[in-house]
Symmetry: C3
């Protein structure tokens, strides 16, 4: 479509008229990252890191922040551009104009095995070889891809998508508008073994998992149910791939948790918490609202609301930055101290 | 059931008469964690951390350790209680009185594809779309949930449970009374590539995996087979979710290995070893009986029997506690040394 | 077979005549690791660590490097031996003489669900309950094990193997001679959410994943596609189990990436890079050709070609070795500095 038409549609999506420099009103046929852009494509600049690309890209149009210099550069390069306070958000909205994600037509594949005692909503898509067991309830417009297994008494809310080969365990309650990605396991047994003289006594995991509306669970992630009570992930929280949530955790809403992070049992995480990749959080730790945990951190105690922590064991982020910078100079520091020790005539051992 | 009846059943389970204060002999209908307990529920107090809850819980009954103060408090609150040396163990036994885990009725689903050259035991439950290939042997009372794949020549011992979408590779020998959780892969090819001038030469992995009786493998965990010989996990060892065991490892009995821990090739782990989450253990490392490895540790060398290690690279646990406490004070330490250096007139660079 | 015959076959595999000491020309029936060898088996010694085993092994024959002492010891023990510059490589070739990996006969199982709009090559093996969706193209001699799901428009190149329960997402392009291990997910949605006042705006992931020829993806690994453009893994790169590759990463050829390593979005990795287990690489980091990243490292910035890094945050490997050694002596260092401070009469706080 013409750039001017695209700007109209984006203004609609953004919810306000967008300021644009139409230039030659080029035909836009695709969206592309700035380092992969090509004639006919729309790209975006979000911050300084890639701004130098404005002068070299062959994109036909750009989404730019309110930056007169960058806008002037784009104009000088003969590019059309549109201004947005949050260019990345507008770019996401542009992608949605050019791309329709794959969604199967509502239908139940004849090879799906659905227990007569399961309830299935309206307009559902249930793929080949899906298994839905007794007492499970599947909402309206749910999309279940092939080879998914839904154990007994599990609930799946309206418009939720279950990708191929994921597993929803007994009694799990998956909300509406959730996405469970391929290979994820929701509601599996918590790791509960009590030491006894002859080894381990298995504590039955009688609880269940609750995913509230709008939750996403990444590929091959695992959400365990507890011995009693529930494991809960609140509204709109997003988990990346291979995240492990232990039994009895309570995670607030609007959190984002990056790949390969793991939480032991009974962890409490507030709302709007950002957690990097490969973070570990120990039993019963409490993370306050709006906290930020850097990748690979190891959290043992509590993290105060709105604070950032990093490192293992985790410390306040500013301290981590300083301490880790000094870590690389420890040999120098050690040598210097030994020199001082010698100069002062202190005993060495 | 009445509290007094419950105590009788628990005494039977525990193997000795339990001392109890029956109070009003309340009707007990459920088990609950202390922070989620409600009237009609039985809960437990294991240690000091939650003891203050005795005064505020609405549980009708408690399992308590032999602590006169806590027992008096419970009595004063009008609660029934039962004493146990290990309250968490008794609580686990109480759960088993109130909860029956889901177990499918023995039957072979007509959509299961079982090779004529596979051997299937008595009273097995084989779910929809399970695939069992030639030469595999499935013991008696085995329960195989839907969409599991058993490769050729694999063995699955009596009473073992294979959860949905797990994979048992060729020649793997899964013992009796094991549980393989959803999405786990047992007996996959070890990561064996020999560098050659043109890239990598694939070393065929002709070995196999042995899981002895009573082993549990968590969701999406992977147990690799070696090029030659075996990878072995001994009796009653329990693995949490997303644990990776490399080719040729030998893990002793009664170990517990928390989520997202990984072992490279040829690691030897003794008996009754406790390993925290996200631990990494390097090639050929040896971990002695009864050792304890803290979460996120990186183990390169050997860990002596009965010792605890932490950190990456791992050091003795007491040293780790001290060193990691000082880590947060490195900026202060650095500044101080620089100050001393200056005061002494030592050359700076 | 006789040892002399084995040497002939190995010479053929190795591409040059191999120097051997045939001794009594024993019958060789198996290959075994040196610590598990037995009469009739061929084993190998690659380096000093296991050389002491030459005097105690009951192997009938050994592959040895060009080391006159070890060769003399083997001869003195009455063992046959063959010399190889790279004993481990020759051992790999020996395994291939004794072991034929399981490979199903080409055939399409009647329970496989193949969309009429999918293209299937010649001589393919497609197992039970496999699902192949519209527009997918499967090359010649491809082997797809049971319960695999191939989403629409995905391509799978000639001679590639897809192990049980793996998932190939829409538009993914898997090359020829690849191996995708059990439970792996290729081409899943990147973790793309843009923060907005009401939570998260989902950025559609319109891109795709490219695996070039000869790539291996370990069990339960996940390779995400980007919002726009591609995620690419180049020729002959090998990934171990549970590796996470974020959206838009570009990984060079002939790399080896050990288990549980994760890369965030847009990471660039050169050719012949070696990455240990549980490594984390942050957004947009660049790793040069031939770099080596030690296990559990946390890489934030760029890694120069040919260098080695370790630690989190990662530093040059020699520095890491020194700093981590001093880490364990931090308490001592701290105590010493405090003592100096006191002696010099510096103020303490």
């Amino acid at each position: 479509m013409k750039f001017s038409e695209l700007v109209e549609k984006l203004s609609l999506a953004y919810g306000q008229p967008l300021f644009a420099e139409t230039g030659t009103d080029p035909e836009i046929t695709a969206v592309a990252a700035i380092d992969q852009a090509f004639p006919g494509s729309l790209s975006y600049i979000d911050g300084g890191k890639f701004a130098s690309r404005i002068k070299t890209t062959t994109a036909s149009a750009l989404i730019l922040p309110k930056d007169p210099d960058w806008q002037a550069q784009a104009t000088a390069q003969g590019m059309a551009w549109v201004e947005a306070p949050y260019p990345r958000l507008l770019f996401a909205q542009a992608i949605a104009l050019f791309y329709q994600p794959y969604k199967p037509t509502p239908a139940i594949h004849p090879t799906a095995v659905i227990d007569p005692a399961a309830e299935i909503g309206q307009d559902v898509a249930i793929g080949a070889h899906v298994v839905i067991q007794a007492g499970a309830k599947i909402g309206n417009q749910v999309c279940i891809h092939p080879n998914v297994v839904v154990y007994p008494e599990a609930l799946v809310g309206d418009r939720t998508t279950l990708h191929a080969n994921c597993v929803i365990h007994e009694r799990a309650r998956v909300g509406a508008d959730c996405v469970i990605h391929a290979g994820a396991v929701v509601g599996s047994e918590g790791f509960g073994f009590v030491p006894i003289p002859t080894g381990w006594y298995k504590m039955e995991q009688s609880g269940y998992v609750v995913l509230e509306d709008g939750v996403e669970i990444g590929c091959n992630s695992t959400i365990d149910r507890p011995a009693v009570g529930e494991t809960r992930i609140a509204r709109n929280t997003k988990l990346d791939n291979m995240v492990h949530i232990g039994h009895g955790c309570e995670i607030g809403q609007d959190c984002a948790i990056a790949a390969q992070t793991g939480m032991a049992g009974g962890v409490k995480v507030g709302n709007r918490v950002l957690i990097g990749g490969q973070v570990g959080i120990a039993n019963q730790a409490v993370v306050g609202d709006g906290a930020q945990i850097a990748a690979q951190a190891g959290v043992h105690g509590d993290v105060k609301p709105g604070t950032g922590v990093a490192g293992s064991p985790a410390v306040a982020h500013p301290i981590y930055l300083k301490s880790s910078a000094i870590y690389a100079r420890l040999p120098e520091l050690y040598h210097l101290v030994k020199q001082i020790q010698k100069q002062l005539g202190l005993p060495t051992n």
